[in-house]
């Protein structure tokens, strides 16, 4: 059974939802921001919310927390790490993922179900998907416009590190190249703005997000 760790910062909002979602593909526990001990988990989720209020810049302060040092070591050792929304921002700020997230083009918060295309189906979080498969997953953020300098962007595309793309016409924030999620060099760290943990039950809108958790669970058991 896969054991998931979900990081909890002051200001996290979706950590309990992430625990619920992970629990559908294993066991899940919260990891407190001020502790370095990852308690031997197999996979880590850095969840959404507004860590430390996001007053300076989304994710800017959370990256310096004790737990993030341990997450960096875990990632360097090849452990699967999924950053969702604010968690994506934190991983970018921490340098574990390339690029940065900027305020949405239309400046406003947007909460909306979007179609997301799986571009790279070989990461630990997308193995259960087909390349080109479309998942219905909600976004909810005000700072989600993906940015990377042109040469970096070109490299990401070339190396297949763009993992998720908003389906044509569905880009909710003005992200460059319709990018919704990317991976690190090694492919074990993935971040995305859409919230797969909010797409695990058809009653709440969709169960497509389950595939991300199921992918990593299979991997950890294998």
């Amino acid at each position: 059974m896969t054991t998931w760790g979900v990081i909890q910062f002051p200001g996290s909002c979706d950590e309990r939802d992430a625990v619920l979602a992970c629990s559908r593909a294993g066991e899940a526990r919260l990891l407190w921001h001020a502790e370095r001990d990852l308690a031997g988990v197999d996979a880590i989720v850095v969840p959404g919310g507004f860590s430390y209020g996001d007053y300076l810049r989304a994710g800017a302060i959370a990256r310096f927390s004790e737990v993030m040092e341990a997450v960096a070591e875990f990632a360097a050792a090849g452990g699967p790490v999924l950053g969702i929304c604010n968690g994506f921002q934190v991983l970018c700020e921490a340098g574990l993922l390339p690029g940065a997230l900027l305020t949405n083009e239309r400046l406003r918060f947007v909460c909306r179900q979007v179609e997301v295309e799986v571009v790279n189906a070989e990461t630990p979080f997308t193995r259960e998907c087909e390349p080109g498969e479309r998942l219905s997953i909600p976004v909810k953020h005000q700072v989600g416009r993906y940015f990377a300098p042109p040469e970096e962007l070109e490299r990401l595309e070339r190396e297949g590190r763009v993992v998720f793309r908003y389906a044509p016409g569905q880009n909710p924030n003005g992200s460059l190249g319709d990018i919704a999620g990317v991976a690190n060099d090694a492919g074990n760290v993935v971040g995305l703005m859409p919230h797969p943990e909010h797409a695990v039950d058809p009653l709440t809108g969709s169960a497509d997000g389950l595939k991300l958790f199921a992918s990593a669970a299979k991997l950890a058991v294998a």
Binding site: G99, A100, L102, E105
Partner: protein, 76 residues
């Protein structure tokens, strides 16, 4: 310390303000960029660039500028 979006980065806040200006009669104003101002007291300027790079600004998307208001006095 002034922190502003890097040249070439889309700044929707700045654009929104810029679009509102003609209606107010400011036809001759352009290139609005919106950033942040961080005020702090420090004994020395030496490590402030590091502080900006590490925390206050994201060098990927933001430039910063340090403007000492008053030179720190040795006995401060």
């Amino acid at each position: 310390m002034l922190i502003r979006p890097k040249e070439g980065i889309l700044d929707p806040q700045g654009k929104a303000v810029e679009r509102a200006l003609p209606a107010l009669g400011f036809d001759d104003v352009s290139s609005v960029r919106i950033g942040r101002l961080v005020e702090l007291e420090a004994d020395s300027l030496e490590r402030l660039p590091e502080l900006c790079e590490k925390l206050l600004a994201n060098p990927l998307i933001e430039d910063f500028e340090i403007q000492p208001v008053q030179a720190p006095s040795p006995d401060a």
